[in-house]
Assembly symmetry: C2
Homo-oligomer: 198 residues x 2
């Protein structure tokens, strides 16, 4: 029996993260039953984004243009550079904070065991950027995982070598969380880094 268009569509939905057979079925049926227009929009948006979205030459974030709007903006503070692992991290910071500096997206993290060193991450471009002398503070916002921490350590050294002040977002208890449910590592770190109540 040949594979039907419906089966092919269900299979295709499974490339999305967190989408298994059941969810893919629900998505396919939902689109065909109730959202043909939205589905057509999704199909077009996907094709166009895949075709035309590349990486910004300055910050390596996703961008349609050679230089992304943030890097091109005259209103951003060019003395601060925030290094993140992925475009999603950049977006999260942009949406949650009032940070007005620039970004640099690693598109990964140092992971010697997987053969990902400074060269694979394209850190030479970051080094060149630090050498330009415009950046005064390098905010290292890699993830607080083992590899993220190692990357942060490496980047902080790099910054110091170029006379740039490295900094790290604070780690500790999440706001609104309950002590009881915080993981041990975080709790232990938060306890060790306690500060005097002013």
């Amino acid at each position: 029996m040949t594979v039907s268009l419906l089966e092919r569509l269900i299979e295709a939905f499974r490339v999305l993260p967190g989408v298994g057979q059941k969810t893919a079925q629900r998505m396919a049926y939902h689109v065909l039953e109730r959202q043909r227009e939205g589905g057509a929009r999704l199909s077009a948006a996907l094709a166009e984004a895949i075709e035309r979205v590349g990486h910004c030459e300055r910050c390596r974030d996703f961008s349609e243009a050679a230089i992304c709007p943030v890097c091109a903006s005259a209103s951003r503070d060019r003395h601060q550079l925030c290094v993140v692992e992925s475009p999603a991290d950049r977006l999260a910071i942009e949406q949650a904070t009032d940070y007005r500096g620039l970004y640099y997206v690693l598109q990964g993290r140092l992971s010697p065991l997987d053969g990902i060193g400074p060269r694979e991450l394209g850190l030479d471009r970051l080094v060149a950027r630090l050498g330009e002398g415009e950046v005064q503070e390098l905010i290292v916002a890699t993830n607080p995982t083992v590899e993220g921490e190692a990357t942060a350590h490496y980047l902080a050294q790099l910054a110091r070598q170029h006379g740039v002040r490295p900094s790290r977002p604070a780690h500790g208890l999440p706001l609104g969380g309950e002590l009881e449910y915080v993981d041990r590592g975080t709790l232990s770190h938060a306890f060790g880094s306690r500060s005097e109540v002013p």
Copy 2:
């Protein structure tokens, strides 16, 4: 500021069921970072399915052809007709059971409050089908909700009027479930419909 392709893609993903802003972001980034090929396949499959998948003239299920493969198959038992509310229900039955009869997809259920009566469900076609005399058993597999039950009741009457034997899948405790966690309605029904241990 104009909406970027990335933002448009994130917005487009939100037509999918159960996909909010965060998930849509994750999907868009995932596709652009790691699954451009899969994304292109998804875009093409979506466009083609939306364009070419219609409804089977016999059973109203999704089909590329005028008559779907199940209705056209010579190996299915034409004396049994299973009525379901949606194509997803049909698929679930097809995948879980060894039912070899035919299907009829209502594409909805009777819901007088929403103005959905026998006419809106296209029940005249089902009536015509019952009148053909080929169907001997009408398996009413609508959902065990208030509206599904009302629909089942109506369909069972319809079947009897045409000398067709109506039946309903058994309701009761789900296999592998624990009594403690079964909802009250199901437990009460299962208790009332208990059968003697042979």
